[in-house]
Amino acid sequence: MAEKVLMKGNEAVAEAAIMAGCRNFFGYPITPQTEVAAYMAKRMPKIGGTYLQAESELAAINMVIGAASTGARAMTSSSSPGISLKSEGISYMAGMDLPALILNVQRGGPGLGGIQPSQSDYFQATRAIGHGDFHLLVFAPSTVQEMVDTTFLAYDLADKYRMPALMLLDGILGQMMEPVEFKESHKAHMDDKPWAVGTACVKHEKNIINSLYLQPEQLEERNFERFKRYETIKKTEQRCEEYLTDDADVIVVAYGASARIARNAVRAARANGLKVGMIRPITLWPFPEKAIKDAAKTAKAFVCVELSMGQMIDDVKLAIECSRPVTLVNHTGGVVMTPAEVLTGIEKAYGGVK
């Protein structure tokens, strides 16, 4: 399938997951991720896979735990309030060192919030998606093609580092249609999982998938080991796109749908003769702090563009150790900013630079 096809973001991710070897999808209806589940329900029975509509998000994530424990590639998708419910299971998965792919097609919050696009689960995704010391691999693609590419990468890295991967999307990316290409390189990499339970994997002794360690020293040891892995990930897996950053005095930092809007504003600023660039994080954890820190050597100000009250902005400030002014252009609750609003924010920051 080398030609380009027009697909909705949610459906493209679902197809990519299947191509990446996922045969186990457990879902629960919630807007605006519904197309993922609907696509899986249509495709899985045709290819001998499982689509199962769980009784709750709690059950769905625990079904993912069961499937992933047997070494299978598994997936669930939800939107913000549903991810809160899944957070218990996600914490267990981190403790169990279980790989799987979780989609959060974000909507406005807190609480039931709304059903329009949002990026207000950034803190939840990168800081505290459940109790305990842990991180997830967090990906934030900004085009349907990148959603497809990232799905393969997410599964591979989740398996490699034995940890859950979260794709942080929003209602815009999930619902929009774009041409996508499924490439030759899009392959399922199914490595042996000697730690898995059941009969599907080659193993030599009894395996236990567990997150309980009653001896404090043992639990500490487990967490130390996990964080050693995290350090490797921080060194090797930071991903971002740098756009017109070489000579930029002002750097816009934006991800996902916001980055699409911000890119237009950056172009408009350039047309007006302003030296403006953009860093677009593709991984939110690990956060691309190296690129942003490097940019701070020459850039004089940063502008964060977010569909939240300002969450990623904290990571930008941390990355540059507050050495430059960082301002925020934002909307929240499902309201989306215009390129003109971002341009105004850029111009303000630029004014401060002079």
Partner: protein, 245 residues
């Protein structure tokens, strides 16, 4: 020297943490004997609950997944769907299965998941020190019902087998007891059937095993068995509630 009695092969050779007189040991043994007799230990995945039997993964020689509180039937569902050749059983207490995990229990049953559920009911949260369980009987004194379970404020106990028997998806539901030799033998028969059903692809089987908690009931092991016979078994009658034979 001739060996006349030994541990089932499906049990590991470690000392269990259970309190003196607790019947988890008997129930573990029955499950292990069944795994031996059906020769399925190698392909079995047990799902441990949260509660007294949380460490079950240390006691059985099969693979294990330790689930979050109440979620064992959902974990079992995922494991069975992804790996249908494996034999999957959950081992859950009353707080785990009948309170926090009620939804997972009911829906695994109504979907007719081809799994085996061993449900240990002693009417109390043992691990946390003896609080009221969904199955504590009316008037039962626990840490959180110090004046006895008052049904006006704490409601009535849940009868799981009776409830699940109403579901089309449930294949087999039987309540057994391990208070005496005769009942222990009957319990083993039921457990074996619940595993055999899975091997035959028949669907959701649950065996509710009436148990005791001498420590938190405040009784010695023998008196606890007497109390169970007089109070628990009258509220929770033994028998087959559903059998799609």
């Amino acid at each position: 020297m001739q060996t006349v009695f030994q541990k089932p092969k499906a049990l590991t050779d470690v000392t269990m943490h259970y309190c003196p007189g607790c019947t988890h040991g008997i129930i573990h043994r029955l499950v292990a004997e069944v795994l031996d007799e059906l020769n399925i230990t190698e392909k079995t995945i047990g799902i441990a609950p949260v509660g007294c039997s949380v460490l079950a993964y240390n006691y059985f020689n099969c693979d294990f997944i330790q689930a979050a509180h109440g979620r064992a039937p959902a974990v079992a569902t995922g494991a069975k769907r992804a790996n249908p050749d494996s034999v999957i059983f959950t081992y859950q207490g009353d707080g785990d299965l009948a309170a926090i995990g009620t939804a997972e229990t009911v829906h695994a049953a109504t979907r007719g998941e081809n799994i085996t559920v061993i449900f240990v009911n002693n009417g109390i949260y043992g691990m946390t020190g003896g609080q009221m369980a969904p199955t504590s009987i009316p008037g039962m004194v626990t840490q959180t019902t110090p004046y006895g379970r008052d049904v006006k404020t704490a409601g009535y106990p849940v009868r799981i087998c009776e409830m699940l028997a109403t579901l089309t998806g449930t294949t087999y539901a039987e309540r057994v007891s391990v208070d005496c030799v005769k009942n222990v033998l009957a319990a083993k028969k039921a457990i074996k059937k619940a595993f055999q059903n899975q091997l035959d692809g028949k669907g959701f089987s649950i065996v509710e095993v009436m148990s005791t908690c001498p420590t938190n009931w405040g009784l010695d092991p023998v008196k606890a068995l007497d109390w169970a016979r007089e109070n628990m078994l009258t509220y929770y009658p033994l028998g087959v509630y559903k059998d799609n034979e």
